[in-house]
Symmetry: C2
Subunit: 886 residues, 2 copies
């Protein structure tokens, strides 16, 4: 027969910390603390199996439960030396739910259970404080009616207000014992009126009804929905914890406090905490009274008296407990304690939340202290947390006036004056003014302005819109897709949802990590990449298998990425090079050319520039692989769209306006994402790819010849949907590459591979791999096509989807493992099936997102590639993946 009730107290516990499935998180934790000798108020836990049996058996408890509870209650009475329902020294208990993981929608807590008209007298005797006793009693009725019986709390609030008016006082605390005793009566009357039954005077009835309410709350619609969304099986059930009450508010020999075993902001190894004399737990948090420091460690002039001074014995006990906890849990702990009549009780210990900086310092220190291994240290820091360290961020203590929310497109924080054009951003930057560039959306023509601005705010576009991608590449803060604001270029102003107007020149602050827009200048803190950071990342690198490359198009970005630990370039987007300065002109000439010859003339102008770009990249990435993607976007992206710009272009190239305009119109596409781009351009205009391959190979040959280092360029052909495309383009590329090698008289090893970014490419990867020496999963486009979801248009509904839980996560941020991930798996396995040595990586934005990196590791990919500023995050995620995969 199963055991349904597990007791704990006075150093003994039936369970322990490993029994979360049976006792729930809270129950297991209380048992663990008890058994390592901490002074935990005794109690007992009804197991999750009771809950399961209850639902399996039409809301009936197992036969043996009542007897087990009676027995546990007896033990509890002995351990507390109090009597449940007793009128001399009554035992009061708390009743709490405790599932394996904390779960909204579940019944939370009932305190002071056991109070009735008799036992309240006992409390008065013990505490010598009738006010305390009746206040506890009326609170109990209120909590019981609301939590156990589902009665609206407003009813009691009204009675309380009436009572205060009647007495002519303003604060609850001004009510006296008699008033509160009167309130108890009135509360009970209201209870009966609303629930059509008397308030239960029998403590056993109170207890069983509270237990029943916990089990009942397991099946509330909110709890059911939450479990469905989070994939928690309903047969897990919840446990119920019944624990003896202790009071920090029974007099001046009582106190309550919270503490961290180390400083959670910096990680420094000293005991950090606050407490209050004669107070309840809520008082410390609520901020009505100013909490006092627990010790003198960081004493400052004017500090209130510390616990170390006021309750030296209690504090000494607490210091011992701190040591025990750190040795036991081997991590920084966040604790709650109460001193009742001079005796210390531990109510809670859990892993303490901390800043990224603290996380790294604690991890590195604990290795030095011999508490944990390097391997454990690496697992202690969440990869995503590192983001805090790699960009300036808002001072967490600063006040902020958030006027709009958009997508957290590129992390960091920035303040500046609002400007609406790239040209003005550049102009103001020259005048040493700090500006935020605000655009409905950005285009390649805005790049100089984005570069000049402190940060970028756009009304349209998703996490991978032009603004977002470019900003991340620049390491510049960006909030994109901020559909709440209306941008009026004519009036040079922004209108927020609430009607607020922000004009050109007004200061705003962006938080690109949170997607927030604030009015004015909000103070910031600079990133601190301390020596501990380097030590820590070194450990991470020791454990990971997955390589981490970067997406970079310029020597500047490449250098940043290499400093952050990138092991090569996984994606160089050559089209970004096409936009710069004098090149765009030649590119446009190429596009407007009537025939192949005309195109070749224009391409001849671009060739030396592209070659120069590649020389720069190869030098910066000396000794590391560099994957270069051939031209990908549709040609119309390179042409101007409005009449003025078209007219200007017509003048420059000496073609009639109407002809240029017709060309622009002819290139228009309904769905450019699915249009004439990628390898489709390579098939219809082979001379473009030929030029690019020539530039790559000439750059490589010159460096090998003149600077003598080894280069293995990886030429990547985008948007393949059918092996025949790659067959043709591979043959073209090989021909050009061999020509160049022959011209230079040098043998260069080069690889030719492809992006796998369309579902069909993944499905036919076995065929495609016969022509590809490497695959790089372009998970951005693969997500777009698999979901049928345009990144740039998703802003119209995706935020609502996430908010309502239609989708758990934005699939452009975290790889959708179920759908897109299956295609990656299929592509990977089929590719390797025909070419066992196939090199495989991913180069979508997901390459820097921890859960996606872990997925790539598990699949067995060779590398991930991400933007420079996310390289450390990917490195750490890869280490986590390797360590948890053993």
């Amino acid at each position: 027969m199963s055991k349904f009730v597990y007791a704990f107290g006075v150093g003994k516990a039936d369970g322990d910390g490993s029994m979360k499935e049976l006792l729930g998180g809270k129950g297991a934790n209380l048992a663990e603390m008890t058994s390592i000798g901490l002074p935990v108020p005794p109690g007992f836990t009804l197991t999750t199996e009771v809950c399961t049996a209850y639902y399996d058996n039409k809301h009936a408890y197992p036969d043996s439960l009542a007897a087990e509870v009676d027995q546990a209650l007896k033990v509890l009475e002995q351990r507390m030396d109090k009597t449940f329902g007793g009128s001399e020294n009554p035992l009061l208990v708390s009743v709490r739910s405790g599932a394996r993981a904390s779960m909204p929608g579940m019944m939370d807590t009932v305190l002071n259970l056991g109070l009735n008209d008799q036992t309240v007298q006992g409390v008065i005797k013990q505490s010598n404080d009738p006010r305390f006793a009746y206040d506890s009693y009326r609170r109990f009725i209120q909590m019981y009616a609301n939590v156990v019986k589902g009665m609206n709390g407003e009813v009691f609030a009204k009675i309380l207000v009436q009572k205060k008016e009647e007495k002519g006082v303003e604060l609850d605390t001004e009510l006296e014992a008699d008033d509160l005793q009167q309130l108890v009566k009135e509360f009970k009357a209201s209870y009966k009126e609303h629930l059509d039954e008397d308030f239960p005077e029998d403590p056993m009835q109170q207890l069983w009804e509270a237990i029943g309410a916990v089990f009942g709350s397991w099946m509330t619609p909110r709890a059911v929905t939450y479990r469905k969304l989070h994939g928690i099986p309903s047969d897990w059930g919840t446990a119920v914890n019944v624990q003896g009450m202790v009071f920090g508010n029974m007099g001046d020999d009582c106190a309550t406090g919270v503490a961290f075993t180390r400083d959670p902001a910096t990680g420094e190894n000293y005991f950090y905490g606050e407490y209050l004399v004669n107070a309840q737990g809520e008082d410390v948090v609520a901020g009505i009274r100013t909490p006092q420091p627990i010790n003198l460690a960081k004493h400052k002039e004017g500090d209130l008296p510390s616990m170390e001074e006021v309750i030296p014995e209690g504090y000494a006990q607490l210091v011992k407990i701190r040591e025990i906890l750190e040795k036991h849990y081997k991590d920084m702990q966040d604790i709650e304690f109460t001193v009742e009549k001079g005796k210390l009780y531990m109510l809670q210990t859990r892993t303490g939340k901390r800043t990224a900086q603290a996380a790294i310092r604690v991890a590195v220190d604990m290795v030095a202290e011999g508490l944990i291994t390097e391997r454990e240290a690496v697992l202690r820091v969440e990869p995503e947390q590192l983001d805090q360290l790699l960009h300036p961020s808002l001072d967490p203590n600063a006040e902020k006036n958030v006027i709009a929310r958009g997508l957290p497109a590129s992390p960091g924080a920035a303040s500046g004056q609002v400007v609406f054009t790239a040209d003005e951003a550049e102009e103001q930057n020259r005048l040493k003014k700090k500006v935020i560039l605000v655009r409905i959306e950005t285009s390649p023509e805005d790049i100089h302005g984005m570069n000049a601005a402190q940060g970028i705010l756009t009304a349209r576009g998703g996490m991978t819109s032009h603004a977002a991608v470019v900003a991340r590449g620049m390491g510049k803060c960006c909030v994109s897709g901020c559909g709440e604001i209306k941008i009026d270029y004519e009036k040079q102003q922004i209108k927020t949802k609430s009607g607020e107007i922000v004009k050109r020149g007004d200061y705003i602050t962006l938080d690109g990590s949170a997607g927030e827009v604030m009015l004015g200048v909000v103070p910031k803190v600079e990133p601190e990449v301390s020596g501990n950071f380097a030590t820590f990342m070194g450990w991470a690198d020791k454990f990971r298998r997955l390589k981490v490359r970067t997406n970079a198009d310029t020597p500047h970005d490449s250098k940043i990425a290499r400093d952050f630990g990138a092991e090569g370039i996984g994606l160089c987007r050559t089209e970004h090079m096409f936009f710069e300065g004098d090149r765009i002109q030649a590119v446009r000439e190429m596009i407007l050319a009537e025939n192949v010859e005309g195109r070749k003339l224009a391409l001849d102008k671009i060739l030396p520039m592209q070659k120069g770009d590649f020389i720069g990249l190869f030098r910066e990435m000396k000794g590391l692989p560099v994957t270069i993607r051939l031209l990908d976007p549709p040609l119309h992206e390179f042409l101007p769209q409005n009449d003025d710009d078209i007219s200007e272009l017509a003048n420059v190239v000496g073609i009639r306006f109407s002809e240029v305009k017709e060309h622009v119109a002819n290139l228009h596409e309904f769905n450019p994402m699915l249009g004439h781009r990628g390898c489709r351009l390579g098939i219809t205009y082979p001379e473009v790819y030929d030029m690019q391959v020539r530039a790559i190979m000439e750059a490589a040959c010159e460096l090998v010849k003149n600077e003598g280092f080894k280069i293995i360029p990886e030429i990547m052909i985008p948007l393949i949907s059918h092996v025949n495309e790659l067959k043709i383009l591979r043959a073209n590329a090989v021909r050009v590459a061999e020509e160049v090698c022959a011209d230079y008289g040098i043998k260069i090893d080069y690889l030719i591979g492809t992006m796998i970014e369309l579902p069909r490419a993944a499905l036919t990867a076995d065929a495609i791999a016969t022509e590809a020496e490497f695959f790089s999963f372009g998970t951005n486009d693969l997500t777009q096509t698999t979901y049928g979801l345009s990144r740039d248009d998703a802003g119209h509904f995706l935020p609502e989807y996430i908010e309502r839980g239609v989708l758990n996560k934005d699939p452009f941020i975290a790889l959708d493992q179920r759908g897109v991930g299956e295609l990656v798996k299929i592509g990977f396995e089929r590719g390797r099936s025909t070419r066992p040595g196939l090199k495989v990586g991913i180069c979508g934005e997901h390459g820097g997102e921890p859960s996606s990196v872990i997925f790539c590791h598990k699949l067995g990919l060779d590398y991930v590639s991400c933007s420079p500023y996310r390289v450390p995050i990917a490195r750490l995620a890869a280490a986590h993946a390797a360590l948890t995969d053993e």
Copy 2:
């Protein structure tokens, strides 16, 4: 040891018609004809295994081959009673390649092999015709040099021209025997000069070199490429056929002709053919002399004398052979024959090509004649052929001046005067003029003009562009995506690729089945759907398992489809109803509404109209299932785009121009195909779907109540990518449906299901099926997303892809079974895995394409749905699928 040479002749053959793999198509066919007693000139076949061995063994023949050929040649000499290389009665042979399937790039034919300076004397003796002998000889040298030795034929043509000039004659036939004898010498001299070797006088050398040339041609680049593109393994090899020559041009007791055992145009059961006295096979086809009818069956005044009259014995023999052939092959045959000195020889028989009309008549007649079964009859007609019967088509004999080619978007043929606006099309139509509407692209606002026009021509848009879909729905001819032409609305003219100008009012003709645009009016033939058609389709229906539904949005289309045999509606696109007349106004009000209440007010206006639509559909489809897809396109499709129209709309709805314009701008999408559409609208604007569900259910309730027939509406939710979307929308739909049923006091069975049209939906179909009672694969969108290919933009490169063989077929026409098909399979299997009874069909354009229909049958789907005019094609394809799947 393998046998490498198979002989045939005088009623005996080593092989038979089933041995195509070993003997090639031609060799097997010659063996078969021989063994059923037809007078075939004897010969022998070197098997495909010789070819394979030749390549496996470094271009060496199997050891035993030479002896086998010698032996076969001896038998051939006996059978022909002639001697190879003999100077009295020499045997001449033809040498031909013969792979399993005919294959371009392979060596074709060498005739008259065996001729040399000795044997030519024998031919003179036998034929008493030196001119014939030397003409044959010089032709042989020419053919041998060209086909076997790869010499340029121009060289000999020049010598021939010189000779004619020298002799002062114009025609080859005016040259005399001496001239030709002289030519033989000159040809040989030229042969030696170019090839640096003597022309081989030894017939055995001639024979082996010709055999070697056939095997060599198996590996020419053209043949290799062809095999790769068509997936023919190179180890299939080719056979070589060596056959005794017979001559139809040796005098007036000689003749040659071609015939069909029935009329290939109408299928009528009479012997149809043509012949020429004293002629070679080419002469009949080349049209230099007018061929004469073989019989008097369809005698007309002025006909030349028939073979029946001129060579009555030969004709009587031929009539017998006709009977033997039809009995043996059980199909209409296309034959070639030669009469040499009064003796009839059969050179070829093969299944005769025929029109659709003939195909059906032959099949139905042959069943009546007891020649074939109904099952065989059904398999005799290619489904795609039926298309000819269902639309008017160009007279195959008419001359046509094709000025441009586009996509065959909607079949049929039409002529009319060019107009450039929908309004003018309507205006001209009122004046009883026939017009072709020419647009760069069409939009819903053009529908009245499309309806008024005979046909539609667009410069942009694919097979499923607006123009194409609407035209197919109307059964109206359409050529879309004709990117070759430039349409100038201002000048009211079209400019073709070759610079031709077609002005407004000029007549053009469209062939929507071929995608061709012709100048002027080309004569057409009307569809003939005879009683045989009905009989034939009845048989098809007996055998098929797959149901065939139609895509129809109006009672009119539904009626056509039902007449064509549709078994329900598989896709009713409700948005088409939104565009009509007064509705578009209410729809626009709905879109412009500021909030839910405003939208509901507008929707209230639309509700009764939508309900009326559904009542019409349900009535027309009485007793059959009707699947109704809720609103799918993005809202901006319903709004005007240019300032004038926006201004007009602003006036009508009483909103400021700038506000309407802002609304239009806000709804703009970069990639509408991947944007805020389908179920995403249903999630963000639930009131729209609620209205539609209400209209469907109210229509059903009223009909059940008032007209008493049974209706099972199938409500289809589009563009699902995640089960959560369907969960929410299903719940909404059920709520509304139950409300309506309660209001009417009626219980209606209805199904709620979804389109599977995104890769992610297919991949997660197991989850989605938990919320769906049926799946309909939207293979149009699934193809777009799987390939990352926009139908509307594919015109920029897809035609080039098909032309160059990058893709074998347009994936929007024939389902891409390898890629898209795998997703359909995955979706189907996973869907059925969680809901075994799940009803599954497809409703993309592929539902009417035979290879795709067969694919759906094999997969086990329940139905396909296609446009009304393709329903019979789908029915027949489904029958084929069932019959070939047994």
